[in-house]
């Protein structure tokens, strides 16, 4: 993992050949209940530089992860890295809507919305095809104008994981707001704000 972070310190982070590895590492961190903002940002950045690599599901998954970091501003920072056309995708729009609800503290609405869109908790991350490096001989042939088929190291993969900690994180955020706002609060209000969860 440190290898990946070192990569992010250099200009290599702008080379989309690393995209598969970044996505795989991010997936591993989410499964390990961690959300690495640096890697997430790196992926979004590569999407911005190489629009053809953009994957709506992965982007939506990253945004869901960022939502879990509230009250930190990770979500806004991720938003800054998205190309406007990305915002047209259905899934991305849904996550954006949830963010809006959470920012305006419309928690009652939020829980209702989440109940109707539980599928958003199932993250899908697309790791694109990973090609092997060309041998010197293959490289020479390519320079001479020949068509060289690069060998495939890994096929394209869709990595999935279920965000079981999502609700807990949001509850922590709500708790943060509530404790900052109230000295005492009626129980019924709390129940409403937490969507009648436990």
């Amino acid at each position: 993992m440190d290898e990946v972070h070192e990569l992010l310190e250099t200009f290599e982070q702008y080379d989309n050949v690393h995209l598969p590895r970044l996505v795989q590492t991010l997936h591993a961190t989410i499964e390990g209940r961690d959300f690495d903002l640096d890697i997430a940002n790196a992926i979004l950045r590569l999407y911005r530089f190489y629009p053809s690599d953009f994957d709506a599901d992965t982007a939506a998954s990253i945004l869901m992860g960022a939502l879990m970091q509230l009250p930190e501003n990770d979500f806004t920072l991720c938003l800054s890295l998205l190309h406007p056309s990305s915002l047209e995708h259905e899934k991305v729009k849904q996550v954006l809507h949830m963010h809006e609800l959470l920012e305006t503290c419309d928690f009652v609405e939020f829980w209702a919305y989440l109940r109707e869109h539980e599928d958003l908790l199932d993250l899908k991350l697309k790791s694109p095809v990973e090609y092997d490096d060309l041998t010197d001989e293959e490289y020479e042939r390519m320079q001479n104008g020949e068509e060289v088929e690069p060998r495939i190291l890994h096929e394209e993969m869709v990595l999935t994981c279920h965000l079981s900690d999502f609700k807990t994180s949001i509850l922590e955020y709500i708790a943060h707001i509530v404790t900052a706002t109230y000295q005492t609060i009626p129980k019924s209000t709390i129940e409403k704000l937490t969507g009648d969860l436990d």
């Binding site: 200009f11 950045r45 911005r48 053809s52 056309s85 503290c105 900052a180 609060i185």
Partner: protein, 533 residues
């Protein structure tokens, strides 16, 4: 030579820097051929520059660069270029000098003449690459030095030309002619290598620990040229990341720079202003409005207080226009903060008032004025043969509209938060009037039902609760606290309002009073005396 320049510098303490300095430039060794291609003064300047670079005479280089370059540009080259590098090269055939001369030559075209053509952009790029390759490929530190101002200008100009390149209309054509020019990866790599070679981050960390930076730096890091280039590259990275909307990485880049006092940063004024401007903007986009205001005010106060010295600064007008941008952003940050408006924003008071009331157009105007000229990354890697549909759509835009796209993207991100704030305006002005009031009463005052009101109260808490930076910490760090002078909490069904006033130290109060005294002695003196006890 040294004594001459020192005497001449004390003379220059008198205003009007641009006259009567010709003596410094005079030298007996001006080649006759040089005199044939240009004016006498310019020939002298070129020769002196060459000599002082070879002699590693930094003081003389500084004097030539900071005063004479600008003066001669204004005097002889308002509408045309300096003597062609090829012609000069025939007379002074020396590699390093050629590179540095070309740097000045092209910079003049970009900044003063503002009409670079494809060949200019290409040659300027190649020249920078030659320069950086020369500096970075060396086994041992290169045997020359330049004054800090010039080093900063090199880095700043490098990033600036890159920015201009990606946004200009002939982008596609240029890339087809020279596909490798101004590759963003190369630009980053240059900055990155300058940073690592100088071990500037390690040096800064050592300095903060109280250790000696010289111990962690090797021969490169201890050489002033490398050290300063490394330092300025940190700021260059800050700018580059901000241009691409990556605010987090931008702040990471300058994590070891202490932002508590402008003086600590560098003695190059344009560098100081740039750092505070960019960092403040990153804070603004990270919704850390309190910190944004802090940084903007720091630098505006600083430039104001050093204004009398700055007037002799060759880039004075640049500073003034940058300060206008910063003021626009400051007004915007204040609009988000509901804080007190100070009189220095007179220039933007109209827009500030409108933005504070939730006028989106005013906010957008302020944003566009102060924000950097964003670059649209997708343009850079668009395939030029049209095989890539999405990318092609991006590159089909003319450069200016792709930059507009980038700016609009960032503006929209900002406006999302701006719109949320609109709802809070009324609530705060009511809260100011009470020490405590029942939720039901406030609800009826505002004409909203209680549930809706609670929503707004929560949202207000959310917004005013920010990460706040304190001196000595890294820019990204901060403690969570209420960033508003008006705080409240709810107990049961009652809202209790608390006004937090940060108590200033006596020293500060005295300073402020003294400053006011200087402005209008009679009025302020009586007021001051009255409030004293």
């Amino acid at each position: 030579m040294d004594r001459a320049t020192r005497e001449e510098r004390t003379e220059a303490a008198v205003p009007n820097v641009f006259a009567g300095d010709e003596e410094d430039v005079e030298t007996a060794n001006v080649p006759k051929t040089l005199r044939e291609i240009t004016h006498e003064e310019v020939a002298q300047f070129i020769t002196s520059l060459h000599e002082s670079i070879m002699a590693e005479d930094v003081d003389r280089i500084r004097s030539l660069y900071e005063r004479h370059y600008r003066r001669l540009s204004d005097k002889y080259f308002k509408e045309k270029t300096w003597p062609e590098p090829q012609k000069v090269a025939k007379i002074i055939d020396e590699g390093l000098f050629q590179i540095l001369y070309r740097e000045l030559f092209y910079r003049h075209i970009f900044i003063k003449l503002r009409k670079p053509v494809l060949a200019d952009r290409h040659s300027a790029y190649e020249n920078y690459i030659s320069l950086f390759t020369f500096i970075l490929d060396a086994d041992a530190p290169v045997p020359f030095e330049l004054p800090d101002q010039w080093l900063w200008d090199i880095i700043d100009e490098f990033v600036y030309q890159f920015e201009g390149f990606v946004q200009h209309k002939g982008y596609k054509a240029h890339k087809q002619a020279y596909p490798e020019d101004w590759d963003v990866k190369v630009v980053f790599n240059v900055l990155h290598q300058l940073i690592t070679r100088s071990r500037i981050n390690e040096q800064l960390e050592a300095f903060q620990r109280g250790d000696n930076p010289a111990d962690v730096a090797d021969e490169f890091g201890n050489h002033p040229l490398y050290r300063m280039l490394g330092y300025f590259s940190l700021v260059g990275s800050l700018r580059l990341h901000t241009l691409m909307g990556d605010y987090r990485q931008a702040l990471e880049a300058v994590r070891n720079i202490d932002l508590s006092k402008p003086k600590l940063i560098s003695n190059v004024l344009t560098c100081q202003v740039t750092i505070y401007h960019q960092v403040g903007f990153c804070y603004l986009m990270s919704r850390r409005y309190h910190d944004a205001i802090g940084r903007f005010e720091d630098i505006l106060y600083y430039t104001r207080s050093t204004d009398t010295q700055n007037m002799y600064y060759s880039d004075y007008h640049t500073i003034r226009s940058k300060c206008e941008h910063i003021t626009a952003l400051l007004a915007l940050a204040h609009a988000m903060e509901d804080g007190a408006v100070k009189d220095m924003y007179r220039a933007e008071s109209e827009n500030l008032r409108k933005a504070a009331d939730g006028d989106e157009e005013a906010a957008a105007a302020l944003f566009k004025k102060g924000a950097p000229k964003f670059v649209e990354p997708s343009v850079m890697f668009a395939s030029l043969d049209g095989s890539d549909e999405v990318a092609d759509a991006a590159s089909d835009d003319t450069a200016s509209s792709s930059s507009k796209l980038a700016t609009d993207t960032q503006l929209q991100v900002f406006l999302r938060d701006f719109r949320r704030r609109k709802n809070m305006v009324n609530i705060r002005s009511y809260l100011k009037l009470y020490e405590s009031l029942k939720i039901s009463k406030l609800a009826s005052l505002l004409g909203k039902d209680e549930d809706e009101l609670r929503l707004h109260l929560h949202a207000h808490k959310r917004r005013t609760n920010q990460l706040v930076w304190s001196a000595g910490k890294q820019p990204l760090a901060g403690t969570r606290q209420c960033a508003d002078t008006l705080d409240f909490y709810i107990d049961g069904d009652t809202i209790h309002v608390a006004s937090i006033t940060v108590s200033q130290g006596h020293g500060e109060k005295l300073l402020q009073a003294t400053q006011r005294l200087m402005q209008d002695p009679r009025k302020e003196a009586t007021r001051f005396l009255r409030t004293r006890k």
